[in-house]
C-alpha cells in the first residue's frame, strides 16, 4: 500500500517540477508548483513527518502560493518556453550553446547527486528507517517538534523569527509606492484625528528645524 502511494506521490512531485520548468505561462507554473507541493506533503506523510507535511500544505501551498498568484496577476507577462530557450530562438549573441551547456551541466549535476546519494555505502539507506512507535509524543508529531523547537533548537527558532521580521519589513520597503509618505490630495480631507497627530513625519530633517511645510 505504501509503495503504491509512494509512486503516485513521486510521479506527482516530478511532473509538478517538470511543469514548473517547462510551462510557458508563469501562472500555470505557479499552479504546477502547488500540485508539486501537495504531492510532496504526501511523501512527507509517508516519511512520518506529520507536522512538516501540515506546515507544507498550510504555509507553502496556501500562503506563499497566494502571494505568488497575486504578483503574477499584478505583473503578468508571458514567458518563453524551455523549448525555445534550448533552441535559442530570438536570443542574444550567446545563442543556444549557452542553453545547451546549461542542460548538460544540470545532467552532470543529477548524475553526481545520484552517485553521491546512492554510492555512500551507508547501510541504512536501503532500510526502511528507524523504528517507530505510535503515540501522542511519537516521532514527527506536533508535540515532538514543538518540544525540540523550544528546547534544543530555541536559538534557531528565535533567529528564524527575527529573519521573518526583517524580511517582512524589507518587503514593505521594497514594494511601497515611492514619492513621500503622504498623498497631496489626501491632505485636504481633515479628520478630528489629525488634531491629535504631531506635524511632520518625525524624520531627522524635521528634528533640526527643516520642516517640509
Amino acid at each position: 500500500m505504501s509503495a503504491v502511494l509512494f509512486f503516485i506521490a513521486a510521479i506527482g512531485v516530478i511532473s509538478g517540477a517538470v511543469g514548473v520548468v517547462v510551462l510557458r505561462n508563469p501562472f500555470y507554473s505557479v499552479l504546477a508548483l502547488v500540485a508539486h507541493l501537495l504531492s510532496l506533503a504526501v511523501l512527507f506523510l509517508l516519511l512520518r513527518a506529520e507536522f512538516v507535511a501540515a506546515v507544507q500544505v498550510v504555509v507553502y501551498a496556501g500562503a506563499v502560493m497566494v502571494l505568488y498568484v497575486f504578483v503574477v496577476a499584478y505583473v503578468g507577462g508571458e514567458s518563453d518556453s524551455l523549448g525555445e530557450r534550448l533552441r535559442g530562438a530570438g536570443q542574444g549573441p550567446h545563442g543556444s550553446t549557452l542553453r545547451l551547456g546549461g542542460a548538460i551541466l544540470v545532467g552532470a549535476l543529477l548524475v553526481e547527486l545520484l552517485i553521491a546519494l546512492l554510492g555512500t555505502g551507508l547501510e541504512a539507506i536501503d532500510g526502511y528507517g528507524a523504528g517507530y512507535a505510535p503515540g501522542p509524543q511519537a516521532y514527527g508529531t506536533p508535540a515532538y517538534i514543538g518540544k525540540l523547537l523550544l528546547t534544543r533548537f530555541l536559538l534557531a527558532f528565535e533567529v528564524a523569527s527575527f529573519l521573518l521580521l526583517i524580511a517582512a519589513v524589507g518587503g514593505v520597503v521594497l514594494a511601497r509606492r515611492r514619492g513621500g509618505l503622504e498623498d497631496e490630495d489626501g491632505r485636504e480631507a481633515l479628520t478630528p484625528l489629525d488634531l491629535l497627530r504631531p506635524r511632520g513625519t518625525g524624520t531627522m530633517a524635521e528634528g533640526v528645524g527643516r520642516r517640509i511645510q
Binding site: F6, V75, L148
Partner: protein, 99 residues
C-alpha cells in the same frame, strides 16, 4: 519504500530546479525554481531524519521553509519594484551590475 527511493526523487527535483534557474528568463519563474531546489533539499533532509529516527532533520526542514518564505517575500518585492519602474522583467536584460 526504502530511503534510497526518496533520495532519488529529491535529487531529480533538485536538478529540475537547477535547470529552471539556469534556463528560464522570467525572474518569477526563477524564484519558483529556487523553491523547487529548496524542496528537493527538504525531502532529502526529512528522508535522512527518518533514516536515523531523529527529529533534527525535520527542524532543519522547517527552518529552510522559513528562509524560503523570507526569500519569496524579498524577491517578489523586488519584482514589484522593477515592474513599477517600468524596467523589463527579464533576468538577461537586468544586467547593470555585470558591468
Amino acid at each position: 519504500m526504502s530511503i534510497a527511493w526518496y533520495l532519488v526523487v529529491s535529487a531529480i527535483v533538485f536538478s529540475l530546479g537547477a535547470l529552471g534557474v539556469i534556463t528560464r528568463r522570467n525572474p518569477l519563474v526563477v524564484l519558483l525554481c529556487l523553491e523547487l531546489m529548496l524542496n528537493g533539499a527538504n525531502l532529502a533532509l526529512i528522508a535522512f531524519s527518518r533514516m536515523w529516527g531523529n527529529g533534527d532533520g525535520q527542524i532543519l526542514a522547517i527552518v529552510v521553509m522559513t528562509v524560503a518564505a523570507c526569500e519569496v517575500c524579498i524577491g517578489l518585492g523586488m519584482i514589484v519594484a522593477i515592474y513599477r519602474r517600468r524596467l523589463p522583467i527579464d533576468v538577461d536584460e537586468l544586467r547593470e551590475l555585470q558591468g
